[in-house]
């Protein structure tokens, strides 16, 4: 084991289980339970990345989610490449291959660092002030260069083969954070028999207890931890390690993401990579801890400069020394705990640089070489710090510099709950303000930094009463506001925001903290400013001579840490993205060679090519079959609603334009529905099965919205009507038989319905049996031919389809259906209409029951614009060439309408089209023009009915 900075004992890593890994192609060894960061540090590697803007060399700063610098790409092979992962959170596994980012050609020699040399030019907002001349250069020269320089890691080039799951959970108490406060809260909640869930972002539960060497409730911290976890498991508390609660949504819903396989060298293929939890909790206890506040001084970004508590964590948890000669810059007593721990491990603490004006008790008793009222003025070293210069001019050589500016309570999730924060002057940080009973905070995120206080707060927060004790924070000295220095003193490491940038922004009038954030990009990096925001705020407050609470904080928004797109998308991919709806006859139809199209969520047969037929020839053949013989069509996707009750007819009278109460049982009528604003909403056939029972059809896509529309009126406007609505769309399989031979095609299959034209005329309906199964037989037509629509229970659809198809009937698809209906001038809602069309526009004014006092949409039809004479009206368009749907129609150079449908009419042996043309009905006979990119096509305006205008064939 060649890990020069690994201690010989201590920590929670397993020295007996070495782990081989690669960083930038270099083979290294770590230990089981290492993170990538701790393993790199054990090997003496501090330089891990380059900054976003200046490409400055950067090292590991922290040991957790707040890490701004140590971003790497982890490559698990084709498609499994993940950029921008924090090395401080990436658990080491055997064979891990990690790469640094944002450098070329290599991490130690990066050409991008030229931007560091011209950094004075690149101050906050520089790009708003230049790159404007010449105008075309932005798009073609400047922007591509800027884009190429920005961007951190590379997106994977291959599709992600991993799976992601989502799971839902309900509990009484959700505890976020399994440190001392969180575990105490869990124990208290479990004791009152609540259903408890504990989640923690780390691999191992315990939080600060994992690096605690003092006693808790009279026993060593590690024993207390073991005992607590044991008790929680016994109480059936659900413990979720590696699970980050990232968002708080209305109604106490917490989003959390659990990393399932990223730490495994060879995960079982059935495991999801991540699992996204939606947790609905009666109460939430946030025990998310705190992160240490960095210091802002010139050269504070060199590799080797890191947070003091991170150094302590690397030592006590991972058995890693972050250096041999260490300078500590302290603005808080907790720095001394870290320094003492490091000294005990044999690391030389060469200076304790304490900026506070007087030595605290802790400082005096530490026995460390303390420099009181001193601070760091500058650092040097190219790829690693080698010297610190103090404010008094003293130069100290070192290989690590630890900084401790106090603590930043992790109030992120609490703030997302839309509760208010308050600024704590003693702590110089934001803490949870007043909270309701459903959102509680305990421990360091609540401002308690003493272990005993954390545990007491935890017990209180998990208890039935839930009002936690407000512990003080006696051992945490107040953080001093950062002093303003010259040189490059970084506030936001990843985005390279310096004190100078903040000053520039405020000088230029950007005084709101939101403006400063946006102008300088401070806090907008992938760490979301976990380390930067409070320092930025303090500096801006100082620059503007205003107290911090006056400046306020930027809004805390989800996610707390970045969440994989795949986890948010869950299993909704491929076939499950939006499940396809198929009709009961799908397999039969597919067996006939159907080419399908998506219609809403359905798949419908578009045409049935035979041999080498293309769509045009197949459709022509299908059209001939229907016009000359008989065709069959799967019409199951049409929406179907059964309307029943003594007032069903009255209800339909109010909903549809027509008078349905006058419809005789056994008869059908075309029905048109309007929105209350008078626009065509949907259409279909209304069949009266009995005095109190109607079978209503809708368009394929209108099924759900029409039912909703009807339910709205039924329940809220006409509650006095005794009428009930049932969706029966999937109850019935529907086969349309259309053509002069339709009667013969079905006659032998229909058992107990008289098909004679007088007994079953056009627009009528009978119930009976077809192929031995119960059926509703409609005599209706959407082609202009003699036609039937057979409705049978869905499960029997395939059998009936097969039986009828066996009689030499040609199957046709939606394309032929469209051609045939267009030849007859029948509209398709959504094609001839577009939500701005009223009945008279499309020649359906006749559907309106003039004697009815009211129906939905009637009043709106009397508005001035609806009465205009130059509204666009449906007409036929004849031309020598086939038109394109959507093409514009012009008259004297001005657009007056468009082509809604255009087909080759096999029946007429000519192109036909329908269009909506201003005052179209008065233009019949006129020649208009359709401009195309390469030519202009002359069209003659005609009546929209091209075929059998008398309707003789319908009544055959």
């Amino acid at each position: 084991m060649t890990q020069p900075f690994r201690t010989s004992e201590g920590g929670r890593i397993d020295r007996q289980r070495p782990i081989a890994f690669e960083f930038d192609g270099r083979r290294l060894t770590g230990c089981h339970s290492d993170t990538l960061a701790s393993a790199l540090l054990a090997n003496g590697v501090h330089l891990v990345g380059r900054s976003f803007k200046y490409h400055r060399p950067r090292g590991i700063v922290s040991a957790g989610a707040e890490e701004p610098n140590a971003l790497v790409t982890i490559d698990r092979g084709n498609g499994r490449i993940t950029p921008n992962l924090r090395a401080t959170q990436a658990e080491l596994y055997d064979g891990m291959r990690a790469r640094s980012q944002n450098r070329f050609p290599s991490l130690s020699f990066d050409l991008g660092a030229v931007s560091n040399a011209i950094s004075p030019l690149l101050s906050a907002g520089f790009y708003y002030k230049t790159f404007m001349w010449p105008r075309s250069f932005w798009r073609h020269v400047y922007e591509p260069a800027i884009r190429a320089a920005a961007g951190l890691g590379r997106a994977p080039a291959a599709a992600d083969p991993d799976r992601y799951l989502q799971q839902y959970m309900h509990c009484d108490v959700l505890i976020i954070g399994a440190g001392p406060a969180g575990l105490a809260a869990a124990l208290a909640a479990a004791a009152r028999k609540a259903r408890v869930v504990v989640c923690d972002e780390q691999a191992e539960l315990g939080g600060s207890l994992l690096t605690e060497n003092s006693e808790v409730e009279g026993k060593p911290a590690s024993d207390w931890l073991v005992n607590a976890l044991h008790m929680l498991r016994d109480a059936d508390v659900m413990l979720l390690p590696r699970t980050t609660a990232f968002g708080w949504f209305p109604g106490n819903m917490i989003g959390a993401v659990q990393r399932v396989t990223d730490h495994l060298p060879d995960p079982h293929p059935r495991l999801p990579r991540e699992r996204l939890w939606h947790i609905r909790a009666r109460e939430v206890v946030v025990a998310a801890g705190a992160v240490e506040r960095p210091l802002v001084f010139s050269g504070n970004d060199r590799p080797g400069v890191m947070l003091a508590d991170a150094a302590r964590t690397y030592l006590l948890r991972y058995g890693v020394k972050v250096g041999s000669r260490v300078v500590v810059a302290a603005e808080s007593d907790s720095a001394y705990a870290a320094a003492v721990a490091l000294r005990q491990a044999g690391i030389a603490i060469v200076a304790m640089v304490d900026r506070r004006p007087a030595a605290s008790d802790v400082a005096r008793s530490s026995g460390l070489p303390v420099r009181i009222a001193a601070s760091i003025a500058d650092t040097s070293g190219s790829l690693r710090i080698n010297r610190a210069t103090l404010s008094n001019g003293e130069k100290i050589s070192c290989d690590a510099l630890l900084m401790c500016g106090g603590w930043i309570p992790t109030v992120h999730l609490f703030a997302q709950s839309r509760e208010k924060l308050r600024f704590d002057e003693a702590l110089q940080a934001f803490l949870p303000g007043v909270w309701t009973g459903h959102a509680r905070c305990a421990g360091a995120c609540n401002g308690a930094f003493d272990l005993t206080a954390c545990i007491e707060e935890g017990y209180a927060a998990g208890g039935a009463n839930g009002q936690p004790q407000r512990a003080r924070h006696p051992e945490c000295a107040p953080a001093l506001p950062p002093s303003v220095h010259k040189g490059m003193a970084f506030v936001d490491f990843q985005n390279d925001v310096t004190i100078k940038d903040l000053r520039t922004a405020t000088q230029e009038g950007f005084r709101s903290i939101e403006h400063v954030k946006r102008y300088t990009t401070t806090g907008m990096a992938t760490d979301q400013g976990k380390l930067a925001n409070l320092n930025a705020l303090a500096i801006v407050a100082d620059l503007l001579h205003q107290p911090i609470p006056r400046i306020g904080h930027t809004t805390f928004r989800m996610p707390y840490t970045p969440v994989t797109f795949g986890a948010l998308a869950g299993s909704a991919r491929g076939d499950l993205f939006e499940p396809v709806r198929r009709t009961p006859m799908h397999d039969q139809v597919a067996a006939l060679g159907a080419v399908f199209e998506n219609v809403g969520t359905w798949q419908r047969a578009r045409y049935f090519p035979q041999g080498s037929e293309d769509m045009h020839r197949a459709v022509a053949r299908e059209c001939r079959a229907v016009r000359n013989a008989v065709g069959m069509f799967d019409a199951t996707t049409l929406g179907k609603i059964e309307v029943t009750g003594p007032d069903a007819a009255e209800f339909l009278d109010r909903i549809y334009t027509g008078s349905l109460s006058r419809l005789a049982p056994g008869r059908c009528r075309y029905g048109l529905l309007l929105t209350e604003a008078g626009y065509v909403l949907d259409d279909g056939v209304i069949a009266r099965l009995g005095p109190d029972r109607f079978h209503v059809t809708t368009t394929t896509n209108g099924a759900a919205s029409v039912l909703h529309h009807m339910e709205d009126y039924r329940q809220t406007e006409f509650p006095e009507l005794r009428v009930w609505l049932t969706s029966v769309t999937e109850q019935w399989a529907v086969i349309a038989l259309q053509g002069p031979l339709a009667r013969q095609a079905i006659a032998s299959h229909v058992q107990d319905i008289d098909l004679a034209p007088d007994a079953l005329p056009h627009m009528s309906v009978r119930e009976g049996h077809i192929c031995g199964v119960p059926a509703r037989l409609f005599r209706v037509s959407f082609t202009g031919e003699l036609g039937y629509e057979i409705n049978v229970p869905a499960d029997h659809g395939p059998m009936v389809w097969q039986a009828i198809h066996a009689g030499n009937v040609t199957a046709y698809g939606t394309e032929t259906m469209h051609v045939l209906r267009a030849e007859k001038g029948y509209i398709v809602v959504g094609q001839e209409t577009d939500g701005t069309v009223i009945p008279s526009d499309v020649g359906l004014g006749w559907t309106i029951g003039r004697e009815k006092p009211d129906f939905v949409g009637k009043r709106s039809l009397a508005r001035p614009d609806m009465l205009r004479h130059d509204r666009k009206q449906l007409v036929g368009l004849l031309s020598a060439d086939l038109l394109e749907e959507g093409a514009q129609v012009i008259s004297d150079g001005a657009g007056i309408g468009h082509v809604t449908s255009a087909y080759w009419s096999e029946t007429l042996q000519s192109p036909i089209a329908l269009g909506l043309i201003a005052a179209g009905r008065s233009r019949i006979g006129e020649i208009l023009h359709v401009p195309m990119p390469d030519r202009t096509i002359a069209v003659r305006v005609t009546d929209p009915v091209f075929y059998d205008r008398q309707g003789a064939r319908l009544h055959g």
Binding site: F249, P250, G251, N252, M253, H278, R280, R418, E676, A677, H708, E711, D712, Q715, T716, E717, P719, P853, D854, K858, R859, S860, A862, R863, P864
Partner: protein, 90 residues
């Protein structure tokens, strides 16, 4: 995701429901006698308040019924739900 208390089914997540716009806008009984301005007010004009809002929801993936809901449009907290025809709680 809101947690909405259907008066018939109890508390359910928002994705079982469909929003139905502002509540207590009754369709005029005698629409034909209204002038265009009054009809427009019914069709389109909305309170859209910042704060307490009476609104309709339908438990479309549950019992299918419409009901009314009082919600604060700033905090999104739901104060009450009640059946159609019942007055809004004060």
């Amino acid at each position: 995701m809101l947690l909405i208390d259907c008066p018939w089914c109890g508390a359910r997540p928002e994705n079982e429901f469909r929003y139905g716009g502002e509540a207590h806008i009754a369709r005029p009984q005698d629409a034909a006698s209204l002038d265009d301005a009054a009809w427009t007010a019914f069709l389109y004009m909305r309170n859209n308040p910042k704060g307490r809002h009476a609104e309709r929801w339908r438990h479309i993936h549950g019992c299918g019924r419409f009901f009314n809901c009082l919600r604060d449009t700033v905090s999104d907290r739901i104060e009450a739900t009640y059946k159609p025809g019942e007055p809004a709680p004060q």
